[in-house]
Point group: C2
Chain length 274, copies 2
């Protein structure tokens, strides 16, 4: 069963004038609840307020929001907690008046169990749909997600966990709902997200672990050759965690297979402690 | 006063699970009502269903939608009629199930009168925020409008009607809410919208008038030099109509002034007959 609260009240309806609906004018966080606590809550809140700042949205009062999320998480042992913050209802026209009151929507979803969720490795395929390229929005988890939606319609095979997306110049950036990491020798690489892509909370956590892993953390442009020469590839998502990529399948072009799994395995162990 | 109907019922509330809110998964049309009729209704409907097709949204039954819009327009002599069509409510996750029922939101707004709306010419400024670049979504009027929202926050001077936006490569594409046309000699040029931008209904109508105007219609990349060498520049919007651009102001860089106004004037006359 899904439960929802809008501005702290149990409700499921939003004003159609909300700019979140009218223009996708808002951001969201999707969080994992384990043992009645939000995993990586500090990272989620940090990203949320960074997003508010970049979009010039006056977000909810931080301490109040934190308590609301903690209280909501405590309702279930295992769950997915989603938070949407929009700029709020407004009049017609792109320009915000500046006096909008933000809308926050908190929803608590069952944790999708089953073998597919317990898997630690995955098959991934290449998507044809490119990511929206725009430095002004790059890295943010905004409500403008049509690129991910279209990419996710490209396959139906349940054996494929994720689709890998490129920017308009052909650089490999991220999955439809996850971030990408490549290990080669003593370097851990992840795509730079200065022009497009979503900077995931699990990505941020993994980057913070690089010293623990004794790997040099590098953000850079990733080309196909980098995927070909990687020792290990994994993808990250705040709900799912860390998945070892076993293969990247590019229909009619190539398939890459990967054997390495040690870094992702170590990260999963470290994540258990979170 | 604003009136709204959701799926044909008088209502102002939308399910928070609607994918229009969750992901901006939908499209919209903003239409001018004059003399109790929707101006350029055929063009609006044509674009709406093209958008549905490209996003694989099963839109409302066409004849029924047309009648609803006509009936709504008949309620007011002058108004702005806005239609949103979303993919409908869904479960969590980017992938549509394919069985969503689209949501349509029709709202009727007062026509903003006053001198500012009656103006036939305008000052325009250059925006720093680039357009989202993505060939998969280029041309569509989707609910993913954060680029326009951010661009529209760049100025507050009420004397500036519109902001001119570039793609990530610096080509001039369109305004935050309008399309761009340049006349030079016997050519009427407008930016190609194959990588970004919204293909406005008024743009489409103007292009359909080029023979009437005895101008060669050309869609192409537009650089600053093209603006500098234009005889006449105008911008188009379905509600506002056609505005002669008197100046383009690029803070700290340059200001261009334009004298020509004949083509826009002729187009406004032709539009009166619509």
């Amino acid at each position: 069963m899904v439960s929802a609260w809008i501005n702290c009240r149990r409700d499921t309806k939003v004003d159609y004038r909300d700019r979140g609906l009218q223009y996708g004018d808002g951001i969201f966080e999707t969080m994992r609840v384990r043992r009645r606590r939000v995993r990586l809550l500090d990272f989620h809140l940090e990203r949320l307020y960074e997003g508010c700042e970049r979009l010039n949205i006056i977000g909810p009062e931080p301490l109040r929001l934190r308590r609301e999320l903690e209280r909501t998480a405590a309702l279930r042992n295992e769950a997915v907690l989603k938070l949407i913050v929009t700029r709020g209802a407004g009049t017609r026209g792109y320009r915000p008046s500046g006096s909008e009151q933000c809308t926050r929507i908190v929803s608590l979803h069952p944790y999708p169990g089953g073998a597919a969720m317990r898997a630690t490795s995955a098959r991934v395929r290449v998507c044809a749909t490119p990511l929206n390229t725009n430095p002004a929005l790059a890295g943010l988890k905004t409500l403008n997600r049509l690129d991910s939606v279209l990419a996710r319609t490209e396959w139906r095979d349940a054996q494929i966990w994720e689709g890998l997306m490129r920017d308009v110049e052909g650089n490999w950036i991220c999955g439809t709902m996850s971030n990408l990491f490549l290990k080669r020798d003593d370097a851990l690489m992840t795509p730079r997200l200065d022009r497009c892509g979503t900077a995931g909370v699990m990505r941020r956590w993994v980057m913070s672990m690089s010293r623990e892993l004794r790997l040099r953390m590098i953000e850079r442009r990733i080309r196909w050759e980098d995927l070909e020469s990687a020792d290990e590839v994994f993808m990250t998502n705040a709900v799912v965690g860390i998945r070892t990529v076993r293969s990247i399948e590019w229909p009619q072009v190539a398939t890459l297979g990967f054997r390495g799994a040690a870094v992702a395995k170590r990260l999963r162990e470290l994540l258990e402690e979170q």
